[in-house]
């Protein structure tokens, strides 16, 4: 359930005072159903004093002449320093025939080490200090991060910078990373939930889309050390990087150290904005038969939106009502009332710089596959037909606003949020706007966005399960012909033979 619940990725960076406009309330928030109770239950009378004032320090932002952005968040509670160098460009930016390159890059960068200390030497050195320096590759970024005791900062940060400036990229460590990647590829059909999640994204974005395509053995094996070096040269330049450091340091001393490390790097060209076509799924019914399971994974999917969308706040409130918590419509119906699923979740997803996914998902025993799918479709449909109530609106806002503080109740969260906003070019006060935006949402807004964005005729329905146990056939869903998906893993003949136990050497 780690999918982007659209509201949940926010940490309030710049809110302080405005966050507690509601601090004056003096009674507990009572959910709508209970408000009718006579006499009121004892818990309704429990006082809620004003929240203690809270004005967290915002990160210090420094922009060097060469365009490098530094964010510093001192925190002296414990004797540790944690930092990261975040670089634009990720797996969505590589050619299709090299799919998987960025994962290999993220692995082999660190394990290869630097031109003066190989990866194994770094392991020994760092582990002896219980310190970490790691590299990572993601959909739209790569990074070097470090974490160490305050007293080891100079040495450990030195290693991180050395990795950035003098990476080794060894043939041997690339092979190791390729082995690991292939181990993952050949196992990707073992778990029904993994198949469902992956194929759902493929239905929404397309098999060849940078947001859904899968590394294959052939694409992974085509990656060379030169590819890794070329990627590094292409992305590592100061105006393409954000350095974020949190922990037990003096800001001026840290600034000096960072300037010394990065100020002389030459500027490069601005990284291009992401592009792409997002037509959404071809509506219909899709299936994968998996004979070794007794539970179906059902995903109903369409295209979501971006966070820049002015309707983002209304959609966030709609999400809270639809699938946000134990009291949400989806949970109440599919899990609590019908007892059809343990895992049931969904939301109208919003990403920073491309459309997210609109998804409704559940896992249910094979025999209730059709019943659960119908219940889920009905809940989606009801977003348009069952009017939102004032009570639902109030409850959703209470949930979002009263838990808002947990988006910025630690220095790590504050820095992580500020780094994300900086990375995607969002205004630094985005979270203050978010809070205000949520507060302003009305019933009319909810009705309007549900009508504008929820279109059941544009959704794809995917069922991954054991079809011999369904009882009621999927055709009973009246979604047209069923399209079975081919999830065969393309595999070199020799490996296939070896893996099926017919000729292991």
């Amino acid at each position: 359930m780690k999918l982007n619940r659209c509201a949940s990725l926010f940490v309030a960076a710049l809110l302080c005072c405005s966050a507690f406009a509601r601090a004056q309330e003096s009674t507990v928030v009572v959910p709508p159903d209970a408000q009718k109770l006579q006499p009121p239950a004892p818990w309704m009378k429990i006082p809620v004093p004003p929240l203690h004032p809270f004005h967290p320090e915002q990160p210090i932002r420094i922009e060097l002449k060469n365009g490098l952005v530094i964010l510093l968040e001192p925190d002296h509670e414990l004797p540790f320093i944690n930092g990261s160098i975040n670089i634009r460009g990720g797996s969505r930016d590589v050619p299709a025939e090299k799919t998987g390159l960025i994962d290999l890059y993220g692995d082999a960068w660190r394990t290869s080490g630097t031109t003066t200390q190989n990866g194994d030497q770094l392991d020994d050195l760092l582990e002896a200090k219980a310190a970490k320096v790691e590299t990572n590759g993601d959909i739209d970024s790569t990074s070097v991060s470090w974490s160490c005791l305050t007293k080891d900062e100079d040495q450990v940060f030195g290693i991180a910078v050395d990795l950035l400036e003098h990476p080794a990229f060894s043939e041997q460590k690339l092979r190791l990373a390729q082995q690991q990647a292939i181990a993952g590829i050949v196992r990707r059909n073992d778990s029904a939930s993994e198949i469902a999640q992956r194929e759902a994204a493929i239905l929404v974005y397309g098999k060849d889309s940078p947001y859904a395509r899968q590394p294959e053995i052939a694409t992974v094996m085509s990656v060379t050390v030169d590819d890794l070096k070329a990627w590094h040269a292409k992305t590592v330049y100061p105006n393409n990087m954000i350095v974020a450091v949190e922990g037990d340091f003096d800001s001026q001393v840290m600034e000096k150290a960072l300037r010394a490390a990065f100020e002389s790097l030459p500027r490069g060209e601005a990284w291009p904005k992401p592009t792409g076509e997002f037509p959404g799924p071809k509506p219909g019914l899709y299936s994968v038969n998996k004979p070794d399971v007794d539970q179906s994974n059902i995903w109903i999917v369409g295209l979501g939106t971006e966070r820049r969308n002015p309707d983002y706040y209304a959609l966030a409130v709609m999400n809270e009502i639809f699938s946000g918590g134990f009291g949400s419509r989806l949970f109440q119906d599919v899990r609590t009332k019908q007892g059809l699923a343990y895992a049931v979740f969904g939301g109208y997803g919003a990403s920073y710089d491309h459309p997210g996914m609109f998804y409704t998902a559940a896992s249910t025993k094979s025999a209730s596959t059709v019943q659960a799918t119908k219940a889920m479709l009905e809940e989606i449909h009801e977003l348009k037909t069952r009017p939102f109530t004032a009570a639902e609106l109030a409850s959703a806002k209470d949930q979002l606003l009263n838990s808002f503080i947990f988006r910025y109740d630690s220095k790590e969260k504050i820095l992580a949020e500020a780094t994300e906003l900086e990375f995607y070019g969002y205004p630094a006060d985005f979270l203050a706007r978010y809070r205000a935006g949520i507060e302003a949402v009305t019933l009319a807004d909810l009705e309007r966005v549900a009508n504008k964005y929820v279109d059941p005729s544009k959704l794809a329905v995917l069922v991954v399960g054991n079809e011999s146990q369904y009882g009621t056939p999927l055709t009973a869903l009246n979604l047209g012909p069923e399209t079975p998906l081919d999830i065969t893993i393309p595999m070199p003949a020799a490996l296939r033979k070896q893996m099926s136990g017919q000729g292991a050497e």
Binding site: D33, H52, A183, G325
Partner: protein
């Protein structure tokens, strides 16, 4: 490639020693610091409350730990502790109902109707299908009648509407734990809710929730290759002790658990003397009287008798070979004593040296050098630590490699541990990392609450969180060899292999798959 020069080893050992020393100071400072911030009170009913000030932000996190888990499920009722945990979110006499007095009458009728149905259902001889159908209809009607008083999910809705974050619970074989975080002006509301659900849970919508838990079982075990393997592995490794049962319960037993059984479990095991609650954040000793008022009202009860069953020594190696349409896996385990054993920290050392990061032996050997495994780890205390658990090894073969190769490669590493001392650097690394991990864990309310509650329950003193480092410091190379030679012997071993077998053809389902 992996041989170190003596010079480098020496240099490493030195810098390790320095690091350990500095960490030592930090840990002592932190203990002193916590002494000032922690207040512990054992209430007259036996419940232990821990309050820890950490005024970084106006929020708090709590962690309730109940010293009963699925190892305590009565025979024939596996999954009961976990089922009760789900029930603890269904509300109380005041929360989740429009009229508790009337609901109580209706719930008693549900139980009576279910008992009548269950009696007929379990009849081995002379079951009457028509009567069974009628009894089921009666039960459905009784459930429907009770449902009219229910405000579904009100307990969690109150928590969420008042800002609860990370609201959840977990049941292991050893214990049951509940937790969330909230803005600190809701402390009293939380104390009311938590104490009320401990004292007055109501088994409403029990049988519907049982269906939900059955889905949880399907997800975690029946439809998951690793879940299926672990279930069979533990059922084989243990013959007497309840660690041989899956925490979520066997399908047949879970599907027949009743609300009456859940209430009996609650009465026996949810006694205040077996509960520790830690609250960490924007709270302090001044809050203690308020907390005492709520938690002190939970009725006292006798501590349940400690478990009699002790797993007998294993006499011979045991194995499970699963042919599955899934990629191969390997798991093996050796019985070890429980957490109170004087060698407990030695097992931690072995785990660390075998498995922690890229310098660990299994990574360097199986993953990096031989390139036969994608993952290879050894870990202590599986499936629990309260009672004697297993020291287990788990490996995921690379494409084209077999479980047998995992097995022999792991055994080579175990033999090395038995015959040759670990290096100074390895031992020092373990001790340094134990300190660092402890310190790193002190920056988060929820993590601190969990640790304080856990150590208080297990050792009767939260300070053991810090003092455990003395036991870790005392571990020697000789200890590691001694323990390895004692425990890692074939007759003490159980292993499970998953071997790939092509899936059945679509038209001819094979018996013996999921049922």
């Amino acid at each position: 490639m992996k041989t170190f020069s003596a010079m480098r080893m020496l240099a490493l050992a030195c810098c390790v020693a320095i690091a350990a020393h500095c960490f030592g100071q930090n840990v002592q400072q932190e203990l002193a610091n916590f002494e000032k911030r922690v207040t512990v009170k054992v209430l007259p009913n036996g419940l232990t409350l821990i309050v820890c000030e950490r005024p970084e932000a106006p929020v708090f996190s709590y962690f309730t730990i109940v010293d009963a888990g699925d190892a305590n499920d009565p025979s024939g009722e596996s999954g009961l502790a976990h089922m009760f945990e789900h029930l603890a979110f269904k509300g109380t006499k005041d929360i989740g109902t429009t009229d508790y007095a009337a609901e109580k009458v209706a719930l008693d009728k549900v139980e009576a109707a279910y008992a009548a149905y269950d009696t007929e259902y379990r009849k081995r001889v002379g079951q009457d299908p028509a009567k069974l159908k009628q009894l089921k209809a009666d039960f459905d009607a009784a459930e429907k009648a009770a449902n009219q008083y229910v405000i579904p999910n009100e307990f969690t809705e109150i928590a969420e509407a008042n800002g609860a974050s990370g609201l959840n619970a977990e049941t292991s074989l050893d214990a049951t734990q509940y937790f969330w975080s909230m803005p600190s002006n809701r402390l009293q509301l939380w104390a009311y809710m938590e104490s009320d659900r401990i004292a007055n849970p109501v088994p409403r919508q029990f049988y519907r929730e049982r269906s939900v838990v059955m889905e949880e079982r399907r997800m975690r075990i029946d439809s998951n290759p690793i879940g299926r393997m672990v279930e069979q592995f533990l059922a084989t490794a243990y013959v007497a002790h309840p660690y041989h049962r899956p925490g979520v319960g066997w399908e047949s037993e879970l599907s027949q658990i009743t609300a009456t059984e859940a209430e009996a479990f609650h009465k026996k095991y949810y006694v205040p003397a077996d509960i520790v609650i830690a609250v960490v954040g924007d709270v302090g000793p001044a809050d203690m009287p308020m907390l005492e008022k709520y938690f002190g009202a939970i009725p006292a009860g006798p501590k349940p008798e400690p478990m009699a069953t002790v797993e007998p020594p294993q006499m011979a190696e045991k194995s499970v070979i699963i042919k599955d349409p899934t990629q191969p896996l390997y798991l093996e385990g050796y019985h070890r004593p429980d957490y109170r054993d004087p060698d407990d920290a030695v097992y931690d050392a072995i785990q660390d040296i075998f498995s922690n990061g890229r310098t660990s032996r299994l990574y360097r050997s199986l993953v990096e050098q031989q390139q036969i495994a994608a993952v290879a780890e050894g870990f202590s205390g599986f499936p629990g630590t309260k009672y004697p658990g297993l020291f287990a090894f788990f490996a995921v073969p690379n494409a084209g490699h077999t479980p047998e190769e995992m097995r022999s490669a792991i055994h080579k590493e175990i033999d090395k541990l038995k015959t040759t001392d670990v290096t100074d650097a390895e031992l020092a690394m373990f001790k340094t990392r134990a300190r660092a991990d402890l310190l790193r864990g002190l920056g988060d309310n929820q993590g601190i609450a969990e640790q304080l509650a856990f150590y208080q329950l297990r050792y009767g003193d939260w300070r053991e969180l810090f003092n455990q480092l003395n036991k870790i410091d005392a571990v020697t190379k000789a200890d590691i060899r001694r323990v390895a030679n004692k425990v890692f012997v074939p007759s003490n071993r159980t292993y499970a292999m998953v071997e790939f077998q092509a899936p059945p053809k679509p038209q001819a389902p094979v018996a013996g798959g999921a049922q």
